[in-house]
Symmetry: C2
Subunit: 470 residues, 2 copies
């Protein structure tokens, strides 16, 4: 008969202790496979504990497979592989975390937005209201495309700000545009050829490739993506940011837009993904009409995000599919749950409905216009002024600075980096990594330290002078 001591069992309950004792005896081989265990009643009597305690321990052992029960015969030790049967352990390699993002003393080319501008007070209040007023809706599964209230608010925003006429049903909300790109690959399939702009935002290429979709590059001219170059790629789907191309800042003129639409119309299955990521921040003149709004053939997928206009850390993006693609999406992929929390969807919906989003954008436009004008006047009045030209300053949150120098782009970047200054060259954004030096650099003013800017510009100037001498 099994005999275990129940003294000093610490915090474990009686049944847990008994369960552990028997399990250990099975694991170590004291109890053999096939061996019959005492009945509940007799073990309880032997140990001076209640039958229920033994029953609980036996049940736990049964549910874990250590013990099996044969009706009317009793309890038996199961035939489980012993510890020595386990495959030999491979020593765990160390975890190599990705290198943390470099921190610079001065970042002239960062893409962060200013955190102090997020409307924390209003957001906290709306979140609280959402939680107290909508407890039931908060717990109900949202439709796959997102909650209707938010989609309606987005449709209204697109109408007011972009002149787009969109049915809320065409809008799909997702946890950031990165996620939505992946959804599009699932919608279209991996046998399609995707084309992105070169130079361009490399992450888009990485995402298509990580989804095992073929991704090719088309070159740019002064009007944006070259349609001739696009044709050479034999692409089905082209991914562009016509309002404000990153990194060149080019706004695609209307003629080129129609040329692109014509390309898409030439063959079935051709589509244009219009990535409108920072259209809210066109600072001069009226915003350019979206490609989506001049598309009459259901060829354009419009995509935008709240990353630039509100906070990138909230991970809310959306896309507007043409009607036949919405239908295809719902037929093929409606089993997916929406990836954004109901809590934040409702809060954002109220934020938009009550006019806070519009106010916030207007405030941020002023803030960025001021930052831009201070940066521009700082450049124009500094010793670097004769050695540089400012380009593409009408839209988005950065412009370009062309330096009059013979120094290689890499040399300039590396030299400045050693002095704690981040200054990105346009040539870094060549997707094939073989761009010639362009002597053009990105100056981003969305989160720039104006106090330190004169020092940075002075440093660049000294570098150019040394370069000229050597």
């Amino acid at each position: 008969m099994l005999t275990y001591s129940f003294d000093h069992i610490g915090k474990a309950s009686m049944y847990e202790h008994l369960y552990s004792c028997i399990k250990n005896d099975i694991g170590s081989g004291v109890l053999h496979a096939g061996e019959k265990l005492p009945s509940k009643r007799s073990l309880a009597a032997n140990l001076g504990i209640s039958t229920v305690t033994v029953e609980n321990a036996y049940n736990q052992l049964i549910s874990e497979g250590y013990v099996c029960t044969i009706p009317k015969k009793g309890y038996f030790v199961a035939d489980i592989p012993r510890k020595s049967d386990r495959s030999k352990a491979i020593p765990a390699p160390e975890i190599r975390l990705p290198a943390p993002k470099k921190q610079y003393e001065i970042d002239l080319s960062g893409n962060q937005i200013s955190s102090e501008n997020f409307p924390f007070t209003v957001w906290a209040r709306l979140m609280r209201e959402t939680i107290s007023d909508r407890s039931e809706e908060l717990m109900q599964a949202a439709p796959g495309g997102g909650i209707l209230l938010l989609r309606q608010a987005i449709a209204e925003h697109l109408h007011a700000f972009r002149g787009m006429n969109v049915d809320p049903a065409q809008i799909l909300i997702g946890a950031g545009t990165e996620y939505l790109y992946g959804m599009l690959v699932q919608l279209f399939g991996k046998d399609k050829i995707y084309c992105v702009e070169n130079p361009g935002y490399q992450k888009i290429t990485q995402i298509y490739r990580c989804n095992e979709a073929e991704c090719r590059f088309a070159g740019m001219d002064e009007q944006g993506l070259s349609v001739a170059s696009l044709r050479q790629t034999d692409a089905d789907i082209v991914h562009i940011s016509p309002t404000h191309h990153f990194p060149t800042g080019i706004t695609m003129p209307i003629g080129r837009r129609y040329e692109l639409l014509a390309w898409a119309n030439e063959r079935e299955g051709r589509y244009i993904i219009e990535d409108d990521y920072d259209s809210e921040f066109r600072l001069d003149g009226r915003p350019i009409p979206a490609l989506q709004s001049i598309d009459v053939s259901e060829k354009v997928i419009y995509m935008n995000t709240f990353s630039k206009s509100l906070a990138s850390t909230m991970r809310i993006g959306y896309m507007v599919l043409p009607p036949h693609l919405v239908n295809r999406f719902y037929e093929k992929m409606s089993f997916y749950a929406c990836t954004v929390s109901n809590f934040e969807q409702y809060t954002l919906a109220e934020f938009m409905r009550r006019g806070y989003f519009e106010k916030h954008i207007n405030r941020m436009r002023l803030f960025y216009a001021k930052a831009r004008s201070r940066v521009l006047s700082c450049i124009r009045s500094c010793p670097l002024a004769p050695f540089c030209e400012i380009e593409e300053k009408d839209s988005g949150l950065h412009f370009l600075l062309r330096l009059h120098t013979e120094l290689e782009d890499q040399t300039i970047c590396r030299n400045l980096e050693e002095k704690g200054i981040h200054f990105a060259a346009l040539s870094e954004y060549d997707q094939e990594g073989k761009a010639a030096d362009r002597h053009v650099f990105l100056l981003s003013y969305s989160h720039i330290d104006l106090e330190k800017l004169p020092y940075a510009l002075e440093t660049i100037k000294s570098l150019l002078e040394q370069g000229a001498k050597s």
Copy 2:
């Protein structure tokens, strides 16, 4: 000279109005491609407006490509395709939204959880604290795997509740497990063969297939997934829920777990995805140790979610990768941003750190245990009792009801549906759609209306009696 009226221009500014007038004239052909526009000064004089207004309008037209400027020559109408050049519009098909989820009078097999149990008050308070105390962190990009504080809290939870020893760096947080399955396909590649349980949760199959990964089925026996059946699929990666299989409720015994680990160890590139989606709700005895915790060869990817334990509408899931896969993830996919909002990550981290999550789970366990016992006693004392048996009731939020009947499963489901009662048969979950009738049904008590249960059971009994007579 262009002449436009500036009366009745409504809310538009002067320059916007001028811009629209010229744009319309270009669009309609009144102004021809190549036509020279008046100088800013002369147009301003002609219209009696300021030069700046004309300049703004011209700039807008230039940035949109309607007008081009030739240095020292002036402004010219650009050569853009006219409206008539556009491809013929395809009439927009109607948007067909997916059918809304069916609403039933009585849902015996729903998978919703009770909304009234969500800790709204605590959550609202922690969210408010997060917003006021962490404004800076909230705006900083989280690491790809999620914020460290939350990963630490999850690691501690896994240690306390599941006996797992996990480095927070092994944990990757994502917007729901559906999203994480997709990430795994990207990590492993689509050339791998995935295997899921049959019967099983069909959505998992849909997700693998939507990602264009090959997905096959292995059968179950009374210990869970059959390893013999798994071998026949030639799979590389098997996706299982050993703690509590859906829909059968089977808990995989320890012997079968070791058998599966042995299968994975036989060949490089074989892995087990352990989907532990409702392990918090084992109601009898101690929780079964996770497969992950007995894996010494880095073969198990552990996956869990807060959908069952907190709220499915928050979309927070996580996975624990073995160290060598974490490294592969960071090498290949570290460009992805974490898909969960910082606001909710920090709030959830505090919710866990301060013990609220543990309290909530304990409260919910009691709540569900009570619901289960009321449902069980209701069944045992109702007229249906002699015609049914209760199975697999130890874990998760549902058990099985075996009906003594010759009626087809489909007949029973359809008949009850007509009476407003949802009662799902186990055979519905056959992934190949060819299961024989099993006369076994799912009874879920996570969100059941106890008042209406007796009526539903009575209705089932009448149906069986009619079936026996006919």
